[in-house]
C-alpha cells in the first residue's frame, strides 16, 4: 500500500509546479530575448557608425585611373614617341591564396624560365597600396594571353590588363634626345606623388621624357567602384577623369636628325644643329644610337651588358655629355676676345716661323703647319687656322681674361633650357686650377687653351650654341628642345646676357674670315666650300687625343685608331641671315676640315636649299623603316 502511494501521482501539485516553471521559463525567455535586443541595439544604434564605415570599406574601392602619356612630335608633326596598346600581367597579392604556388604556375603556363618566379615575386611587392595590382610582366603575346585565359580559374588575383606602352619609332636616331621611360623604381617611388602615380607604371628616365615628365604624365583620375567579396567590380560609384599628359612638339626636325645620323654612318660622333634666331635645336645626334624601346619594359641583362660593353659606348650621349677639346673651332671667339680686350687689332700681324716661344723660354709651341704661315694678320690667322698667332694672342690676353670672355659664349657653363643631363664642359682659369689642382697656372697652359686644347673642354651642344651666338652677332638665345607644349609656343628665358662688342664692325670681320675658311684660296675647308649657293661661315678643328683612359684595353689595331685626332667643324649659314648653326664631331676621324666639314656642308645644303632632296629622302627612308618594323 505504501509502495503504491509512492508511485501515485499528485496531479494537482504537478500542474502547480508546471505552471510555476512555465512562468519562470517565460520570464527567462523574455530576459534572454532582452539580452539579444540589447546586443542588437548596441550594434545597430550605438556602434552603427563604426559598422557602416566598415561595411563601406568592404565594398568601396578607389581605383586610380592613370592618365595617357603625352605624345612627342617633331617640329613637322612627325611622331617621335607614341603609346601602343599592349597587354600586361598584373597580380593582386591579397587575392592570391598561395603566392609561391601561383607564381610557379604562371611561369609554367607562360613557358618562362624557372628563375622568373623570383623576379615575379620581387615585382609583386612593388606597389603603393594594398589591393592594388602589381605589374608582373609587360607585352604579353597572343599565345600567352590565350593560355592565361584558359587557366584563369586556377589563378585568382592574376589579371591580364590592357595598357598603353611607350613606343619609339626610329629609335636609334632619336634615342639620346628623347630618352626613354622605364618602370618606376623604388627610389623614384619614394619621391613621387602617390596619388598621381597610383596607376602609372612608367616614368621618364632620361632625355625629354625625363625633363618633361610632369607635362607628359598628366594627372591621374580615380574611380570609386563597388566590389563584391571576391573583388569583382560591380558598378562605378563615381569618377574623376584623368587629365591626359600634354603632347610636346619638339624643335627637332626628324628628317634633319635622320640625315645627320646617316652622315655619321655609325661612327662615334655627334652633330648638333640650332636655329640661331630662336635657339631651337633642329638636330641633336649622338652616334651610335641604341634601341630605347628595350628600356621601356625592362631591358634584359644580356642586352644591357651588350650595350654597356660596346666599345663605341652607344648609351653615351656625346652631344651633351661628350666633352671634347673644342680645338681650332674657338679661334673666331679668341679673335673677338683679343679685339675686345685691345690685345690685337685686325691689321696687326704676327710672324709665324712654324712655332711660338714664350718670352724667356726655349720650348717651342708648334703651329700645325711645321714650316709656318709666315706673316699673318687676324683674318688670315682664322682662315688658315694659324696656331702661332693665337698662342701669341692667348699669352697677351692671359688665362683669366680669356676664360671670362669665353664664358660669355657659354663655354664652361650649362646654358640650355631643357636639355636633360647636359654637361657644362670646362673653361679653365687660374682660380679653377688653384681650387681643382692646388697649383698655380703656368703661362704655357694658356697657350694650349688659346687653340682650344689643354684643359678646355666643350660639348657639341656648347659648340653649336656658341656658333649660334656668333651667327646672331652676340644676341643670346637659349637652346631648347620643346617648341610647343599643348599648342603653346615655348620661349625659354634668356639665360645669358647678349655680347656687346666695343665695335660692331668686328662681327663682320669674323664673318668674313669664316666665309674665307670655306671659300678663300687658303681656307682650310675650301674643298667643302666649292659651289656654295649661299654664304657659309665655317671653322674647322682637329682635337688631339693625348691619353688613353685607364679602363680601355690595350688592342694594337684599336689603340691606333683611338689615338687619331677628333675631327671637328662648326658652321652657320647663310651669313647675312643665319638659319642654322651647327657643330660636327667625329671621334678619331682625323682632320676636321677634311672629315667633319663635308658633313656640315651637306647638312647646310639639305636645310637651306629648297630643291635639295636629301631631307625628303631621309624622311622617306624613315617611313620605309617603320614599315619594316611593323612586319
Amino acid at each position: 500500500m505504501r509502495k503504491r502511494r509512492e508511485t501515485l501521482k499528485d496531479t494537482e501539485q504537478e500542474v502547480r509546479v508546471f505552471r510555476n516553471r512555465s512562468l519562470l521559463a517565460a520570464l527567462v525567455v523574455v530576459l534572454m530575448t532582452g539580452g539579444l535586443v540589447a546586443r542588437l541595439v548596441y550594434l545597430q544604434v550605438v556602434q552603427h557608425d563604426i559598422y557602416i564605415t566598415r561595411s563601406d570599406k568592404n565594398r568601396v574601392r578607389v581605383e586610380p585611373l592613370p592618365p595617357t602619356r603625352g605624345l612627342l612630335l617633331d617640329r613637322n608633326g612627325m611622331l617621335l614617341a607614341e603609346n601602343r596598346p599592349t597587354y600586361n600581367l598584373t597580380i593582386v597579392p591579397e587575392r592570391v591564396d598561395d603566392l609561391e604556388e601561383t607564381l610557379g604556375l604562371l611561369v609554367d603556363i607562360l613557358g618562362l624560365p624557372e628563375d622568373q618566379a623570383r623576379v615575379f615575386k620581387e615585382r609583386s611587392r612593388q606597389r603603393q597600396r594594398p589591393f592594388q595590382p602589381a605589374l608582373l610582366m609587360s607585352e604579353l603575346n597572343e599565345k600567352q594571353i590565350a593560355k592565361l585565359a584558359i587557366n584563369r580559374y586556377r589563378l585568382p588575383g592574376i589579371e591580364v590588363e590592357a595598357q598603353l606602352l611607350r613606343y619609339y619609332p626610329d629609335t636609334d636616331i632619336m634615342s639620346h634626345v628623347i630618352g626613354y621611360v622605364g618602370r618606376i623604381n623604388a627610389e623614384e617611388l619614394a619621391s613621387l606623388d602617390k596619388g598621381d602615380y597610383a596607376g602609372t607604371h612608367f616614368i621618364g628616365k632620361t632625355g625629354v621624357e625625363k625633363e618633361y615628365e610632369a607635362v607628359l604624365h598628366g594627372e591621374a583620375g580615380l574611380r570609386k567602384v563597388e566590389t563584391n567579396a571576391r573583388g569583382r567590380v560591380l558598378r562605378e560609384l563615381g569618377r574623376t577623369d584623368p587629365e591626359p599628359g600634354k603632347d610636346i612638339v619638339l624643335t627637332i626636325d626628324k628628317r634633319l636628325q635622320k640625315l645627320a645620323y646617316q652622315l655619321l654612318d655609325g661612327r662615334r660622333g655627334s652633330i648638333v644643329a640650332i636655329e640661331p634666331a630662336t635657339g631651337e635645336i633642329l638636330a641633336m645626334v649622338s652616334s651610335p644610337g641604341f634601341d630605347s624601346n628595350l628600356f621601356v619594359t625592362g631591358i634584359s641583362y644580356k642586352d644591357y651588358r651588350g650595350l654597356q660593353n660596346d666599345p663605341d659606348l652607344p648609351l653615351y650621349n656625346r652631344a651633351i655629355r661628350g666633352q671634347y677639346p673644342p680645338a681650332s673651332t674657338v679661334k673666331p671667339y679668341m679673335a673677338l676676345a683679343g679685339l675686345e680686350n685691345g690685345v690685337i687689332t685686325p691689321k696687326e700681324t704676327v710672324y709665324d716661323p712654324g712655332y711660338y716661344k714664350l718670352p724667356g723660354f726655349e720650348r717651342r709651341y708648334h703651329n700645325w703647319l711645321r714650316w709656318g704661315h709666315g706673316r699673318v694678320d687676324m683674318h688670315r690667322a682664322i682662315v688658315v687656322s694659324n696656331d702661332t698667332y693665337f698662342y701669341n694672342l692667348a699669352h697677351d690676353l692671359g688665362i683669366d681674361r680669356l676664360a671670362e670672355f669665353m664664358h660669355r659664349f657659354g663655354f664652361g657653363e650649362e646654358t640650355s633650357a631643357d636639355v636633360y643631363g647636359a654637361a657644362s664642359g670646362l673653361m679653365p682659369s687660374s682660380e679653377w686650377k688653384r681650387e681643382r689642382h692646388g697649383q698655380v697656372w703656368f703661362p704655357g697652359e694658356t697657350l694650349s687653351v688659346g687653340i682650344g686644347q689643354g684643359y678646355w673642354l666643350a660639348t657639341p651642344l656648347q659648340m653649336a650654341t656658341a656658333m649660334s651666338v656668333l651667327a646672331n652677332r652676340g644676341e643670346w638665345v637659349t637652346p631648347h628642345l620643346a617648341k610647343r607644349v599643348d599648342g603653346e609656343t615655348i620661349t625659354p628665358p634668356k639665360l645669358k646676357e647678349d655680347i656687346e662688342l666695343s665695335n660692331e664692325r668686328w662681327w663682320n670681320l669674323i664673318d668674313s674670315a669664316l666665309e674665307d675658311v670655306m671659300t678663300g684660296s687658303e681656307g682650310t675647308a675650301r674643298r667643302s666650300g666649292q659651289d656654295l649657293a649661299y654664304r657659309m661661315a665655317g671653322k674647322s678643328g682637329t682635337a688631339q687625343v693625348f691619353t688613353l683612359s685607364n679602363d680601355e684595353r690595350y688592342n694594337a689595331a684599336e689603340l691606333e685608331e683611338r689615338l687619331h685626332d677628333h675631327a671637328l667643324f662648326t658652321a652657320f649659314a647663310p651669313i647675312e641671315n643665319p638659319q642654322i648653326a651647327l657643330a660636327v664631331i667625329i671621334e678619331n676621324a682625323g682632320g676636321g676640315s677634311s672629315h667633319a666639314a663635308p658633313l656640315a656642308r651637306q647638312i647646310l645644303d639639305a636645310w637651306l636649299l629648297p630643291d635639295d632632296e636629301r631631307l625628303d629622302e631621309a624622311g622617306a627612308a624613315t617611313e620605309e623603316h617603320e614599315i619594316h618594323e611593323t612586319e
Binding site: A26, I52, R59, N228, R230, L234
Partner: protein, 381 residues
C-alpha cells in the same frame, strides 16, 4: 494496461460530456499558432529571396520544403497524444538505431558524418528525428512516474539523454547535440526538477567543460577561440563573425532596404542564406525588422507555453513545454552567434534559414503541440 494510460484512453474516448467543438478543433489545428507560424514563414521567404541573391529558385525550393513541413505538422496534429505517447519509445529506439547506423556507415557531408542515405529514396539526418524523439521519450518515461522526479528517475533520464547526445556529438554536430540535450533537460526542468539538483548539475556541467574542450575537434575549438577574439584571425575563422556583426551594425535602425544590403548582396557575409540569414535581416531591415521578428518568435513561444499549460496530462505538458523552449533555444543560439555573443555553432534560424530538415522537424514539433491542444478532453462546465 497501466492506470495512467487508461486514464488517457478514457480522456480521448470521453465523448459523453461534450461541448460543441469549433471547426479548428475538428481539424485539430490551433489557429493562433498556425497564424503566427505562417506569418513567420512568409517573412522568412521575403528575407530568403534577398539573402539568396534574389534567386527565385531558392525561394521556390524553400516553399516546397515548407509544404512538406506543413503537411507533416497537419498530419501529426491529427494523431492523438495517446498515439504519440505510444510511439515515444519505438521512435526513440529507431532514432538511436539510425544514429548507430550513421556512426558505422553514414554519409559524410560538409566534413561531418551526419547523413543517412537510403539510395534513391531519401537522405536524412537521424539527429533531426532525435530532436522530437528525445523530449517525447523523456516525457513518456516521466509520465508514469510521480513528479517531481526522484533521483533514480533522473538518472534513468540522464542515460536516455546521454546515449544519443554523445552519438550526435561524435558525428560531430555540437549544435544539434546541444539542442537534443536541452530538449531532454527542459522536460526535466518543467517536470519540477528540484533547484538543489539543478544547482548540482550546473556545477557538474561547469566541471565537465574542460572535458568537453578536450574532446572537441580542432575546428570546434577554433570556433570558440574565434568567438572569444574574432580579430585574432580576421580573414580566416574570424571572418564570419566580423562580417555578420558588420552587416547587422551597418543596418542601423531602419536598415538599408530589402535587397539593398551591401554586406549580404556583395557576398561579404558568408552562409548568408543559411546559418547567417539573420544578419541579412538585420542589415536590410535594421533594428525595427529585428524587433518585429523577435516579437513574432516570442509570441510563438508564449503560445506554446500556453498550450503546454492547458495540456491535461503530464506527457502533453512536458512534451509541449520542451518543444516550445527548444524552439526558443534555437532562436537564441542562432541570433546570439550571428550577433557575436555566442560562439559559432551550426544552428540555423528556425523556420527562416534555408534548408529542409530542420523546418520539417520544427513544424512537426508544432504539429505535436496542436495535437496536444486540440485533443483535450473537454471539461464539464
Amino acid at each position: 494496461m497501466k492506470p495512467n494510460e487508461s486514464a488517457l484512453l478514457q480522456a480521448s474516448r470521453g465523448r459523453a460530456i461534450k461541448r460543441r467543438r469549433s471547426v479548428w478543433e475538428r481539424i485539430h489545428i490551433d489557429p493562433w499558432l498556425l497564424g503566427l507560424l505562417l506569418v513567420l514563414l512568409a517573412s522568412g521567404l521575403v528575407v530568403l529571396y534577398s539573402a539568396s541573391g534574389q534567386r527565385l529558385a531558392v525561394v521556390e525550393g524553400q516553399v516546397m520544403r515548407f509544404g512538406v513541413a506543413l503537411s507533416a505538422m497537419v498530419v501529426l496534429a491529427q494523431l492523438s497524444p495517446i498515439t504519440l505517447y505510444r510511439w515515444s519509445l519505438p521512435l526513440y529506439l529507431a532514432g538511436l538505431a539510425m544514429l548507430v547506423a550513421v556512426e558505422i556507415m553514414g554519409d559524410i557531408g560538409m566534413g561531418a558524418q551526419r547523413w543517412l542515405v537510403i539510395p534513391g529514396v531519401v537522405r536524412f539526418q537521424p539527429s533531426e528525428l532525435m530532436k522530437l524523439a528525445m523530449p517525447m521519450m523523456v516525457a513518456a518515461y516521466l509520465h508514469r512516474r510521480p513528479l517531481p522526479p526522484g533521483l533514480k528517475d533522473i538518472l534513468i533520464c540522464a542515460v536516455i539523454l546521454a546515449v544519443p547526445v554523445v552519438l550526435i556529438a561524435k558525428q560531430p554536430d555540437l549544435g544539434t547535440s546541444l539542442l537534443v540535450a536541452s530538449a531532454a533537460v527542459f522536460v526535466l526542468l518543467m517536470a519540477g526538477l528540484s533547484w538543489r539538483l539543478i544547482g548540482c548539475l550546473a556545477v557538474l556541467a561547469a566541471a565537465a567543460l574542460p572535458l568537453l574542450w578536450l574532446n572537441m575537434h580542432a575546428y570546434q575549438r577554433q570556433r570558440v577561440l574565434t568567438f572569444l577574439n574574432p580579430e585574432s584571425d580576421p580573414l580566416g575563422a574570424g571572418w564570419n563573425i566580423i562580417q555578420s556583426t558588420t552587416a547587422i551594425g551597418s543596418g542601423g535602425i531602419g536598415g538599408k532596404g530589402w535587397t539593398q544590403g551591401t554586406q549580404s548582396q556583395l557576398e561579404f557575409l558568408p552562409e548568408r542564406h543559411t546559418d547567417f540569414i539573420v544578419a541579412v535581416l538585420g542589415e536590410e531591415f535594421g533594428l525595427v525588422g529585428m524587433l518585429l521578428i523577435l516579437v513574432l518568435y516570442l509570441m510563438i513561444v508564449m503560445r506554446g507555453l500556453i498550450i503546454a499549460n492547458r495540456a491535461q496530462d503530464t506527457y502533453g505538458r512536458l512534451v509541449a513545454g520542451s518543444i516550445t523552449l527548444t524552439f526558443f533555444i534555437y532562436l537564441f543560439v542562432n541570433v546570439g552567434m550571428v550577433s557575436g555573443i555566442l560562439p559559432v555553432v551550426g544552428v540555423p534560424l528556425p523556420l527562416v534559414s534555408f534548408g529542409g530538415t530542420s523546418s520539417v522537424t520544427l513544424l512537426a514539433g508544432f504539429g505535436i503541440l496542436m495535437s496536444i491542444h486540440s485533443h483535450r478532453r473537454l471539461l464539464p462546465r
